[in-house]
């Protein structure tokens, strides 16, 4: 798409390129998430044991299925970059939108930093295995962020095509591991009958495990950031998102099945790279290489998708003057939000250089959780203000309002679980967003052109 001209025929406008298809949407969502299958999910085993981790896997899977359905319906209508931020702006109001925008930017930038840290640590592990024990991971962390920022800067099509290839490889690596574990002959390689135990810490352990169950799926909601660059958003976003959550449910279940059949829960609960360890236990060198590359690709795909999404959320806030308009610029050749991409590079590098992987991830998860809580209110309000017969939707999710209420209930349980393990982090992140909200109301909102931010050609909402 080239520069378009407004209806008056005088002012030229630049818009993002509409070049993406449902496979790119799938690659964006699954790409951000899949690294959680390779590492991180297994901390749920330390809290709840193997069965507790399975309950967490499926209960949180239900939470994210609600997220995927709700997102698909709203995004098929609000087809704009910014995703949930734009939805909040149109459906709830400016303060909610500002907060949701911040949740998105913080969640994705923190996750990007964590992914880059993982790439650096993997390089250090390879160096250590080849006899060089003291490799500094920092140059590889910076290279990961710099290369992916460059890729994102140069265009969304190549960025998400690369993500599709490496995400598909990582997913197939999990399938290869499952096949390599000889699942048709239980007891041969997989020893579930010996390794599965009772719940080690009872049901409170299962509740505590829910927080880490989010690693299986965290980020699938990122698909809707592609809405402004996808051809036929009303069809592509639901296809990519629902396909993505189905892929993740399969990958998560296979990951749990293979890992718990090979490792005792006491080891699995603290392993750094459980899937690679599983391949090592099977003893197939080719499988080990595939899983190592899969882990690396999954981390890179996640960082790549996070740069894409964080930049679009920040760009959208700039476009609406929630942040300085300077950030709302589109590159005239590459059609990417180039200033937002550049602005977030030093922030991601700074988070990564702290080296505090668990704190960074916790901040990311909590920001995501706040966003999911918003979605449940958003969905109920959306259907109430614009019923099904008023606005055309590309996808209508079934059983409304059950998914919205289920999502709210599950979010509440996960808040409690997070409070059990990371109470101080939960309270400090709440304080951060409250301070940011006060700044927005007192200082920033005066710059927002209130009429300009509502661009959807929707009818007046019911009751207004």
């Amino acid at each position: 798409m080239s520069q378009s001209t407004s209806s008056g025929g005088e002012q030229k406008r630049i818009s993002m390129l509409k070049v993406l298809n449902p496979f790119h949407v799938w690659a964006l969502g699954v790409g951000i998430v899949l690294v959680g299958e390779f590492m991180g999910w297994n901390f749920s085993v330390a809290k709840g044991g193997a069965y507790g981790a399975l309950i967490a896997c499926w209960v949180i899977g239900l939470l994210y299925s609600c997220v995927a359905m709700i997102d698909s319906e709203v995004t098929s209508t609000v087809a704009a970059a910014g995703g949930q931020y734009t939805q909040a702006k149109h459906i709830i109001g400016p303060l909610m939108a500002f907060n949701v925008g911040l949740y998105l930017v913080m969640a994705y930038t923190m996750l990007e930093a964590a992914d880059a840290l993982i790439v650096g640590d993997l390089m250090a592990a390879v160096a250590s295995a080849t006899g060089y024990a003291d490799l500094n991971p920092q140059p590889f962390v910076v290279l990961t962020i710099a290369f992916l920022a460059w890729l994102n800067y140069r265009g969304v099509f190549m960025t998400l095509t690369v993500n599709f290839v490496i995400t598909l490889f990582a997913f197939l690596a999990i399938i290869a591991l499952f096949i390599g574990s000889d699942p048709l002959n239980p007891g041969n390689i997989l020893k579930h009958s010996d390794l599965l135990t009772e719940l080690p810490y009872g049901w409170i352990g299962v509740v505590a495990a829910l927080q880490f169950g989010m690693w299986y799926y965290l980020g699938i909601e990122g698909t809707c950031q592609a809405a402004e660059e996808v051809r036929s958003a009303g069809r592509s976003i639901p296809l990519g998102t629902i396909g993505g959550i189905l892929t993740l449910l399969v990958a998560a279940t296979l990951t749990w099945y293979v890992s718990t059949g090979l490792m005792p829960w006491q080891y699995l609960g603290q392993a750094t790279t459980p899937l690679y360890d599983a391949a090592s236990i099977i003893g197939n060198p080719s499988l080990q290489i595939v899983l190592f590359i899969g882990t690396m690709f999954a981390a890179i795909a996640s960082a790549n998708g996070c740069i894409n999404d964080a930049a679009r959320a920040w760009f959208s806030m700039g476009r609406d003057r929630y942040m300085p308009t300077w950030f709302g610029a589109i590159h005239p050749h590459y059609r990417t939000p180039f200033r937002a991409i550049i602005f977030l590079i030093p922030i991601a590098v700074s988070f990564a250089f702290t080296g505090l992987l668990d704190q960074v991830i916790t901040f990311s998860i909590l920001s995501g959780l706040l966003g999911y809580t918003f979605m449940s209110f958003n969905m109920v309000r959306f259907r109430k203000m614009w019923p099904l017969d008023v606005i055309k939707r590309g996808y209508i999710h079934p059983f409304h309002p059950i998914p919205a209420f289920t999502l709210l209930g599950l979010c509440s349980v996960v808040y409690f679980a997070t409070f059990l393990g990371y109470g101080a982090s939960l309270l400090s992140i709440m304080a951060f967003y409250i301070v940011a909200s006060v700044w927005f109301v007192k200082r920033r909102y005066q710059f927002v052109k209130r009429a300009d931010q509502f661009t959807m050609p929707w009818p007046r909402p019911k009751g207004y």
């Binding site: 060089y132 460059w150 809405a227 700039g318 610029a329 180039f338 550049i342 661009t455 959807m456």
Partner: protein, 59 residues
């Protein structure tokens, strides 16, 4: 091992070059193009919205 030292230096250098390229290009674009054009995009430019608009006009 010298191989890993070289790889580390290469990573720093490539990172610096990539970041430099990005910054130079961004500055160059900001100088070449009018700021109003760069920030002129509007959200939700989608064929589905056009369809909704048309349906609204028909009613």
């Amino acid at each position: 091992m010298i191989y890993w030292d070289l790889l580390s230096y290469a990573a720093w250098i490539i990172s610096a070059l990539l970041l430099l390229w990005i910054v130079v290009d961004a500055v160059s674009v900001s100088r070449q193009f009018d700021e109003e054009l760069l920030v002129s995009s509007r959200e939700g430019a989608d064929e589905m919205l056009d369809q909704i608009k048309r349906e609204g006009e028909d009613k």
